[in-house]
Symmetry: C2
Subunit: 508 residues, 2 copies
């Protein structure tokens, strides 16, 4: 990504934005030259991302980065050639999240179909509130979201794309409250006698707790249900806590069941939780932002997601396991009409009923964002390319690779300490440097191995060859959590990952 | 955009996604051919968007569209050539929101710099939570948001990019509540004795009311303050309503002041409202999602935005007046630290403090979305290209064009009835068909002219030559609201707009 490799023609290099469309009517050729040069840079980035001989990143500390790059936004605009160099430099120092050796996030990989879709989305540059200004994209949403509800197991309902799983979870919370206490929308807290309480496991995504804060319940009224050693909610504990809160006069109304926790990739027991929700008349939301993709797999869907059709709402992020580009998150409701009645503010001036076409396609009044980014086309195009079968194969392959990784770790148990066999593609383990290999495993050793994580991660980033995440949890000090969610990963990449960690960490 | 014009080579046409990167290591050439073909389609779309001889849209009703397009997501993925045709067909029926004759939304235009930025953003495909995985983009956020705060008039504070102005307004509401009632985050409603009340004008964006619903106050506790005939909040009415609510024992805490209303483009009187906020110790939020861009203009900033620096928080959407691609919305706070203390849920497992680098750059814990789309690069690159001066010229030009339109409408007062001289680029008027031209203006004529709006709009869409929005408001039946926010618009386009409306509407 050497910025010097991308030279505009002499006639174009010193031009400015005012020499391009739409400022200059005859500027299509030079506008095209400029955009094509940006595309050339992107093509090279894509090639390097897929080249195992290229690094994952060229790490620089913030202060150094500020010196290497001219980040200032100037008073006078710069010339086209400078903008081309800006683009090249930006990518030179960007982390290649699609590299086969990037295992750091729940969203890894660079799906080219989805990317092509996002390029088109940018050029179409439209807002998703009405059929009037986004006719094709609105219809695509209808088709794809209907298909996703079918996969969940519903032949009814309603859905919407939201800017990330956290906002999707917020939609579920709001719909539940609205469904159960219709006066709340207008009257607020005074319409309910008693304290609303929600429940979620101590391993859930923090956005669930955030709903309690945003929604005015307060986080003290988002009760954390203990989980077992593998990170799954203990259903009997849920029931105990519901009873406890009810006996205080509180009103339990909402349970979040996580299907695929962030750290351990655990699946809460849906059926048991659904039974409790039924018994105590609580809304069941399933946060399958992470694990939802496994719904495609006949092999892995059960028992992990068995019973998901019993939920009232489901969050499912295609931008995670399915590899759709960021962002693409969906929220689904079993009951149709709720999104509209919960969120509409009757903005007649925006969503008129006297239009030329059937206004049931207008989505603007169903959402809390008003304008929405077009997050559907990248998913639609990808689905056209892969087919439903292609997603199933992708899921099975990710799980297979994770099983391979677990097997290799167990074979190298002197160097790696597996925390447990995961239910998903999150593989949790400690790396064991030479000096700890003869020490028997104990809480004290765990503590020492925990201290190794940030140091080894720092070495990965400085060498630029590998990225794997680490974090502590309630029961353990820092440990590594490896994610396989990229279609670029092969068995040989997992071998590389383990060898590279050993190379960098051996003497720590 | 004839799909037949875009043919892949014989060797590539029948391939499938599995023949491309990352599935096939040697597939860079064919991957590049496929992507380049998509780019060719986009280039043609850009050319047509800027060609006044091309239509703005090719309107089809939903049922017809579903027949014209194969929107289904199949079990087996389709071939590359089909995907190329899918892309071409999608754009064939998409509305050209960058066309010089698209005046329909607050976001019009296709800024090529910002678009190039969004292509790069897609390819970089990263999440904005940490410096670790988005180093350059995180620094760009720091630089650009600091600059925007400076333009507001602050040399301190904190800011974040959010998915649209509605969520930005929600951030302000949450921060205000947290700042004034720190216990609310944990304790919820029980920590406050009395009903929280917020105030906004009856012309505000509906997302402000939505905050009251989402946040648990209830929309009845979002008090609508009357506005004058030009859509500006009446400050004395605000004070009266605050006193009224206080006398009931309620707690007024938040005032939303709109700088650029959606329909009329009105600016609430900031100084008067700020004085009242100061007097009654209420948070002052300014929703300048729409009008914020005028801050760049020495000529038009005052008196519209005079006093904005007195606000506690400001929403400002570059994707509106500034022409940045969708979405790009910012929320700014005068007080630093609030975003973090309000929104952090202490997800230590995601935002560790023991990293290689200075973690103050990690933004993940400040936001309610967890993962965030990269909305900065398209704005940064655009700013580099235009410079601050370029934005100022853009604002002055948009206002000049609006003034030109007002002048032309006044010159043709038989055919067009101007509602009033606007403060911004929203020009509100009725079109007067032949048969009403000799009728004196009256409430009855307004009603008749209002009925013309949807019919004339339908004719615009069917002819595909023009798009202008219409809506009713509290005081008036349907009327047209024309928006000039695209850099593509010239005086001659406004002449065309008026002539075309007359051509289509003359005999209605």
């Amino acid at each position: 990504m050497d910025p010097k490799n991308y030279q505009l023609s002499k006639g174009a290099a010193n031009l400015k934005y005012t020499d391009l469309l739409p400022h200059n009517d005859s500027a299509f050729p030079v506008s095209k030259e400029f955009l094509q040069k940006v595309v050339d840079i992107l093509m090279d980035f894509i090639r390097e991302t897929n080249d195992r001989n290229c690094k994952v990143l060229d790490f620089r500390h913030p202060d150094e980065m500020r010196k290497l790059l001219d980040l200032e936004v100037p008073d006078k605009g710069v010339e086209l050639q400078q903008l081309i160099e800006d683009c090249a430099k930006t990518l030179k120092y960007q982390v290649r999240t699609g590299h086969p050796h990037f295992f750091n996030q729940l969203s890894c990989g660079l799906d080219l179909m989805s990317m092509a879709g996002e390029w088109l989305t940018a050029t179409a540059n439209t807002n998703m509130f009405t059929y009037e200004i986004a006719p094709v994209f609105i219809l695509m949403e209808t088709v794809v979201l209907h298909k996703m509800r079918e996969i969940i197991g519903w032949n009814c309902g309603d859905s919407i794309l939201a800017p990330g799983g956290s906002i999707s979870n917020l939609y579920a919370f709001l719909a539940a409250r609205h469904r159960m206490f219709p006066g709340y929308k207008e009257k607020g807290l005074h319409s309910i006698k008693g304290q609303l309480v929600m429940f979620t496991s101590d391993q859930c995504h923090y956005s669930v707790k955030s709903c309690a804060s945003v929604g005015g319940l307060g986080t003290d009224n988002c009760v954390e249900v203990p989980s077992d050693k593998r990170g799954r909610m203990i259903a009997s504990e849920l029931e105990r806590l519901v009873i406890e809160r009810k006996s205080k006069g509180d009103i339990p109304f909402f349970v979040n069941c996580t299907s695929g926790t962030t750290v351990l990739g655990a699946f809460d027991p849906i059926e048991d939780i659904a039974n409790i929700c039924q018994k105590y008349k609580m809304w069941l939301h399933i946060d399958a932002a992470w694990g939802g993709g496994l719904l495609f797999s006949k092999k892995y869907r059960h028992p992990r997601l068995t019973g998901i059709e019993r939920a009232d709402s489901v969050t499912w992020n295609p931008h995670k396991l399915m590899g759709t580009l960021l962002q693409c998150s969906t929220i689904h409701f079993k009951e149709d009409g709720l999104l509209l009645s919960c969120n509409q503010m009757s903005a007649d001036y925006l969503f008129m009923q006297d239009k030329l076409y059937d206004v049931q396609y207008d989505t603007g009044d169903k959402v809390i964002q008003c304008g929405r980014h077009n997050d559907i086309f990248k998913l639609w195009l990808q689905w056209r390319a892969k087919g439903t079968d292609g997603f199933e194969q992708h899921m099975d392959r990710l799980m297979e690779l994770s099983e391979y990784m677990v097997k290799r770790i167990k074979e190298m148990s002197d160097k790696f300490h597996l925390i447990f066999e995961p239910e998903m593609v999150n593989v949790s383990f400690w790396y064991v440097p030479q000096r700890f290999r003869s020490v028997p495993h104990s809480p004290q050793r765990e503590k020492e191995l925990g201290k190794i994580c940030p140091i080894l991660k720092g070495k990965m980033m400085e060498s630029g060859t590998l990225m794997v995440g680490y974090q502590p949890d309630q029961d353990r000090p820092n440990f590594f959590r490896n994610i396989i969610s990229s279609a670029a990963v092969r068995e040989s990449d997992i071998d590389f990952l383990l060898a590279e960690m050993d190379r960098l960490g051996h003497d720590l």
